[in-house]
């Protein structure tokens, strides 16, 4: 039975499909998916490569648009928003953590974390205080003025987590956040995200194969061939 979209859900998809055109062929990445993701949870989307996990996350993150169906994120029907409005929406509501960290290479760790706050137009003093506090929370206060190429993979991902969380978003999306990390660092990163999610009551949605990450999930969505195969609710947080 497909989950119902309700006000306690941060994301709701109703018969969403996404088709890509590759040459002269249409490739259906998502096929008529309906699901709801509750807020303040540690949710994970799992599935084989090419199953549509990343496409689903891209749609939820409002960096891609569905070819059919309706998509509500943070209570807003994002399929109706224009490009600039979507950009502003992302700036306010959504934090991203990428597999390859995707830090801006010419900005220091502190400046990378500060960047989302500048996009929101936050004044300098609270901006600085909050950016430093988040860097402190991820254990990188001492590395604030280092550039990404001066940081290890784990440190880069911590900066990426700080950047995603600094604006206190409703939703954090993480696509394979531990894929480029060794298992020890990956475990530390998962523990960090879990701790911060608990503290901030932020909704985390992951796409991952990582068994460690799956073991921490509150909600698991299994995708196969672009369709929702299963939705499991794990034990209490």
């Amino acid at each position: 039975m497909a989950p119902q979209v309700s006000s306690s859900n941060v994301v709701g998809l109703s018969r969403v499909s996404k088709t890509y055109r590759v040459g002269s062929t249409d490739v259906k990445a998502l096929d008529d998916i309906t699901l709801a993701i509750p807020s303040n949870r540690f949710s994970i989307v799992i599935g084989a490569s090419g199953s549509g996990k990343t496409t689903l996350l891209n749609l939820i993150g409002c960096i891609d648009t569905p070819t059919g169906g309706t998509l509500e994120v943070c209570g807003e029907d994002v399929t109706r928003l224009g490009d600039d409005t979507l950009a502003d929406f992302r700036a306010r509501n959504i934090g991203f953590i990428f597999q390859n960290f995707s830090l801006v290479p010419v900005l220091t760790a502190y400046e990378n974390v500060e960047y989302p706050l500048m996009l929101l137009g936050m004044p300098a003093t609270p901006r600085r205080q909050r950016a430093l506090a988040v860097l402190e929370a991820v254990g990188l206060a001492d590395h604030a003025h280092r550039f990404p190429n001066e940081l290890s993979g784990g440190q880069k991902q911590r900066v990426a987590i700080a950047r995603a969380l600094v604006k206190r978003p409703t939703l954090v999306l993480a696509d394979e956040p531990t894929a480029n990390l060794d298992s020890t660092t990956g475990a530390a990163i998962i523990a960090l995200m879990r701790r911060i999610q608990g503290e901030l009551k932020t909704t985390f949605i992951f796409a991952s194969h990582d068994a460690q990450l799956i073991s921490h999930a509150d909600e698991i969505f299994v995708i196969r061939d672009g369709s929702l195969l299963e939705h499991r609710v794990e034990g209490a947080q």
């Binding site: 891609d64 600039d84 950009a87 991203f96 995707s102 830090l103 010419v106 989302p116």
Partner: protein
Amino acid sequence: MSLLLKIVLRNILRNRRRSVMTGSAVAAGSLALLLFGGFTGYIFAGLETGNVQRNGHLTVFHSGYFLFGEGNPAAYGISGYRGVMKMIHDDPVLRPMIQVLTPTQSVVGIAGNFTGTVDASKTFLGIGVVPSDRERMLEWDPYGTRGVSRPDRRMADREENVGLLGFGMARVLGLCGPLRLKDCPPAPDTRPAQDSSASGVNTDVLDLANRGPADPTGAAAGVPQIQLLAATAEGAPNVVNLAVAGVEQQGVRELDDNYVIMDLPLAQQLVYGRGEHKATGIVLQLTRTRDMPAARARLATLIGQHHLPLEIRDFSELNPFYGQVVRLFSAIFLFIALVMGMIVLFAVVNTMTMNVMERTNEIGTTRALGVRRQGIRRQFLMEGMLIGAIGAAIGSILAIAIAMAVNHAGLTWMPPGNANPVPLRVDVLGKPALIVGAWVGLALVATVAALLPANRAARLSVVDALRHV
């Protein structure tokens, strides 16, 4: 410093070699534009100075003189020219603008040298001037071109029979030896062997010349003399003696071979004889060239108010060569500017396209964080503009340094139409509008060049950009 500017500057430094190469192309463009612009500016200043020294800024002629008067200067003389000069001199609007106000008289005729070993004659184009005014006109040099013409004091107001010849005229008349001219071969003795005295006709000319006022300077001082023969306004032949004080080489051979400069009363005596002495032109040399339109307009008003049959011409109308040179160098400058603009355009397009390609993933990330398309476009446009602005600034500094070095090297060159070499100078510092124009222009070209890659970056799909490796 804003985050955008910080990102832009650091990205420029990040691709240091590429930025340096592109900035160098812009700097080279700026350097070429400024040096050539400075050089042409100096050429224009030199040409203007030469023209204004010789012809003044404005000349008042009898109506019709400019089109028809060269063939018959006597018929186009300004009657009562002293009154017209007084009217101009006393005008409160014109007076502060005028440095020299002087009459001139054109005269055409035949010049002959029948007194020495040479028996030569040829047609001449003469100009009668007030020597002291001419000396003052030669001092006009607001651009510091130094040496277009220099006052020489070889003619004086009270020495009415003393004048100067073109170098070619002196050579043809066999005056190279008497005037001790360098690089001037003496004329062969062409007199018939059996009769070394002047021919019958020449004796008549000498007799006529000697009936005029006694020459207080020429023959007595041992200065070579020539005879000038012209027809008076009434058509009667008139001959005067001219003591040749030296030569004044003209840049154009046709003029150099025919040129005679003499005291105004002597020219008037030749043209008008015992009749009313008129003037061909009233020359106004202004203190500043930029006053020329205002002075011309005021002159036209005065002439209109007094219903005088006069017309006004400026130095560029009297000497079309000036306008031709200005147009030629302006066209070359424009061509160079276009070539440099194209080089800068392609260099910046290439660099920015590579920057966009290299930073595609970064563009996707920042778009995902909430940066609008316009923000991406602005970032790359600013990057192009800064590369252009920094390159152009470096080019400007180099151009100023090179110009100063050239100006202090003491080099000389012979501009077209000049008889003597002049200092080679590149006037860059004196042309702030050129510096600012080149700087703004190149920065603008670089910004426009960045527009295409910037638009491409802004239009990238976020998902595709994030997928880019």
